[in-house]
C-alpha cells in the first residue's frame, strides 16, 4: 500500500516556489499596546527543501509559522503582506477555506506532541479521522493506511498501537505518531515547530532522521523551527535567523556558518558550548534581553546588545542587504568580517562601551 501524495490544487507557474511569503506582518492588539510579533518577513521555499528558522524565545518563530498557515485567532490579530502557496494567495482566505489546506496540503507538528494529539482519543482514530476528512475513503482503507503510516514512522506492532491512547506511548513515540498524522494526507509542506526540543538526543536523532526520510520519499518541503543551531546545521538547506520579529540574516546553511555577517548570528553561534572545546571553557554571552515588541528601539533592534553598535545603529534601521554568496542576506551597518565591522568592534573595545550601552539599552 502506498501513502498518498498531494496533488497540486492549481497549476503552479513553472519554476514558482512552493511557498512565497512577502513582507508578512503579524501584530497583536493587547492592553499594553500592539505587539509586533512578526514585522515584515519575506522568504521563499522550494519543494523538497528544508528551511531552518532559529532565534531566541519570543523572536516570533511560532507566530510566523502560524501566520503563514492562517492558524491564528482572528480577534486582536492584524496581518499584512502576502503568502502564496503553490501559486495561490492565502492571506485573503477565510479559516473555512483554509481548512482544505490544513492537513492535506500543509501540516504542522509541535514541540509538545500532547498538545497536538487528543488525549482521550485512541491514536488509530486520530489518524483515520484525519485521513477520512481529507481523502474520500472508507474506514477499513483508512485503518489500513494508518497501520502503514505507523509502520513507516517505525512504531513497533502498529496494529496494536492503534488502540492505545497517547499517554500510553513514550515521548518519542508520540512525536512519531504526530509525524504519522501530519503525513496522513501527503502534505507538500510541513511546519515542524521545535519538534524535538522536548526529546532526548537519541530520540531526537530518530525523529529527525524519520522526517528526513519522509521528506525524500514525498519531495516535501519542511520549515524546521528550533532554537538549537546544531539541529538545523545538519538538516536545513537554508537558515533564517530571527530577532524581534524579523529575519536578520538568511543564507544557505554553510554560508551562514562560514560567512556570518550579522553580529547577532555570530553571538548565537559562539554562545553554544561545543563538544570539541575542553571542559571549563569560558562561554561567550549576549548581554541583556531581546527588546520589548510593543516599543522596539528605533534603529537596529539588536543595538542595545550588540558589541559593534555605533551611533548610526541607534538611529537608522538597517535594511536587508545581499551578501556576496547567492541567497545570503543580512541586516547590519557594520557587518562581521568586514573592515567596517572590525573597526566598529575595535573602537568599542578601546572605548570600553558601545553606542547601545551608552544609550542605556543593555541590562
Amino acid at each position: 500500500m502506498t501513502v498518498p501524495v498531494a496533488e497540486p490544487t492549481a497549476e503552479p507557474a513553472p519554476g514558482a516556489p512552493l511557498l512565497e511569503v512577502t513582507d508578512l506582518t503579524t501584530h497583536f492588539e493587547t492592553p499594553g499596546g500592539i505587539v509586533r510579533a512578526v514585522d515584515g518577513v519575506s522568504l521563499t521555499l522550494e519543494r523538497g527543501k528544508t528551511l531552518g528558522i532559529v532565534g531566541e524565545s519570543g523572536s516570533g518563530k511560532t507566530v510566523l509559522s502560524r501566520s503563514i498557515m492562517g492558524l491564528l485567532p482572528k480577534r486582536g490579530t492584524i496581518r499584512g503582506g502576502s503568502v502564496r502557496f503553490d501559486g495561490v494567495e492565502l492571506m485573503t482566505r477565510s479559516p473555512k477555506e483554509m481548512r482544505d489546506f490544513w492537513g492535506a496540503r500543509m501540516a504542522m507538528i509541535f514541540q509538545d506532541p500532547m498538545t497536538s494529539l487528543n488525549p482521550v482519543m485512541k491514536i488509530g482514530k486520530q489518524i483515520t479521522e484525519s485521513i477520512r476528512h481529507h481523502l474520500d475513503v472508507d474506514r477499513d482503507y483508512a485503518t489500513e493506511l494508518a497501520v502503514t503510516l505507523l509502520r513507516s514512522v517505525r512504531i513497533p506492532e502498529p496494529e496494536r498501537r492503534l488502540r492505545d491512547y497517547p499517554h500510553q506511548l513514550s515521548g518519542g513515540m508520540r512525536q512519531r505518531v504526530c509525524i504519522a498524522v501530519a503525513m496522513a494526507c501527503g502534505p507538500a509542506l510541513l511546519f515542524a515547530d521545535e519538534p524535538t526540543t522536548a526529546l532526548d538526543v537519541t530520540v531526537q536523532a530518530q525523529v529527525l532522521d524519520l522526517m528526513a526520510a519522509q521528506q525524500r520519499e514525498r519531495f516535501m518541503a519542511i520549515v524546521l523551527i528550533t532554537h538549537d543551531l546544531g539541529v538545523v546545521a545538519g538538516r536545513a538547506d537554508e537558515i533564517a535567523v530571527m530577532y524581534a520579529g524579523r529575519i536578520v540574516e538568511k543564507a544557505p546553511t554553510s554560508v551562514l556558518f562560514t560567512q556570518t555577517r550579522m553580529p547577532y548570528t555570530k553571538a548565537l553561534l559562539s554562545s553554544i558550548p561545543k563538544l570539541e572545546h575542553p571542559s571549563h571553557s569560558r562561554l561567550a554571552t549576549i548581554p541583556g534581553r531581546p527588546p520589548n515588541l510593543v516599543a522596539p528601539p528605533a534603529g537596529c533592534k539588536f543595538a542595545p546588545r550588540c558589541a559593534q553598535a555605533q551611533p548610526r545603529c541607534l538611529e537608522e534601521d538597517p535594511p536587508l542587504v545581499p551578501g556576496s554568496a547567492p541567497g545570503h542576506e543580512y541586516r547590519c551597518w557594520f557587518p562581521v568580517g568586514t573592515p567596517e565591522g572590525d573597526d566598529a568592534l575595535a573602537r568599542n573595545r578601546a572605548a570600553g562601551k558601545t553606542a547601545g550601552t551608552t544609550a542605556g539599552g543593555a541590562a
Binding site: V201, Q206, A213, A233, A267, L275, T285
Partner: protein, 342 residues
Amino acid sequence: MAGRGTAHLRSPDASLLRVEHLVVEFPVGRTGLVVNAVSDVSLDILEGETLGIVGESGCGKSTTGRAVMQLPPPKSGTVVYDGVELTALKGEALRATRPRLQMIFQDPISSLNPRRTVRDIVREGLDIWGIGDKAARDAKVDEVLEAVGIDPANAGRRPHEFSGGQCQRISIARAVVTEPRLIICDEPVSALDVSVQAQILNLLEDMKARYGLTLVFIAHDLAVVKNVSDRVMVMYLGKVCEVAAPDALYASPAHPYTAALLAAIPVPDPGVRPDTSRVLGGEIPSPMAPPSGCRFRTRCPRAEERCATEEPELRAVADGQYVACHFPLTPGETIDFGPRAG
C-alpha cells in the same frame, strides 16, 4: 542488571560526598509493581569537584540527586556527606544538614514562590536556620544577589517580574546564601535560551570559584555537561554505564551507550552531516521490568548471551575511566547501530 560496582570510587577520606549502592524504587499504584528508578548506583565527589550526571529522560538522574538530599530517602544504600551518614538521620538532625547541602531545579520560575519577594525568597534559608542577625542577613542577601547579577534594588519584586534566566540567577542566589559546600543542580539551564544558558553556566563557574563550591550538575545536554564538569557519570535506566573525565569520555567513549549518546548530538557545523548509522534505535525498556543482566542489552549491537545473564561491573579501562560493560569499545573504535529510519 547496565552496571554496578564501586571501582570508580576514590578514598572516602578525600570525598565530600560518597554514595554507595543507592537503590530507589517507586511503587506503581496497587499493582505490586515498582519503578526501578535507581538500582545500585555508587558515586563520589571530591571537595571542589564538579560531577556531571548525564543520561536520557527517566534514567534516574533527578532521583539520584534527590535521594542524596533524602527527598525521599533511598530504599537502601549509604549517603555519606561530610563524614555524616545521612540515611541514618531523622527529623531535626536531617533538617540541620540542609543549609550545607542545597539543590537547584530545572524550572526556575515554578521553583520560586510567586507570592514572596525575591529578597524574602533568597533570605529564607538564613531566617529558617537563624544564621546571623537581621542586619547581617540583609547584607548577605545583597552580597549574593550582587554576585549573581541581580540588582539588590530590585529585590522587592516578585519572581514573575523577572525573566527565566533572572529567575535561575535568583535560585542560585537562594542556594548559595547559606554557604553550602555542595549544590546539586538539576538541569539548571535546560529551560533557557542558548544566550542565557551561557550566562548561567559562566555564573555557576564564578560561584564555584568564589564560594569554594562542590557541584553535582545534572543535564541531558552532553556539551553543557562537558563544559562544566571535572568528572562525568553516564546513566541508563537506573544504572551507571561509565565514569570518566570529560575530555577522555568524549574522545574515547568505552560504553556503547556513551558512544550512542555522543553520536546523536547534533553538531552546529554544517560540514558534519548526521550519521544515521550511529544513531541508537529502539525504545527504552520499562523501568518496571528492566532487562536482566545488562540493562542496555535490548538496544546494544554488541550484546551477547553473557550480557543477558551477568550484570557488568564497573571496572577501569584507562586511567580514571571506568565502564560497566562486558565488551567495551577500545579507543578509536566506533560502533554501528545498524540501518535506521528510511
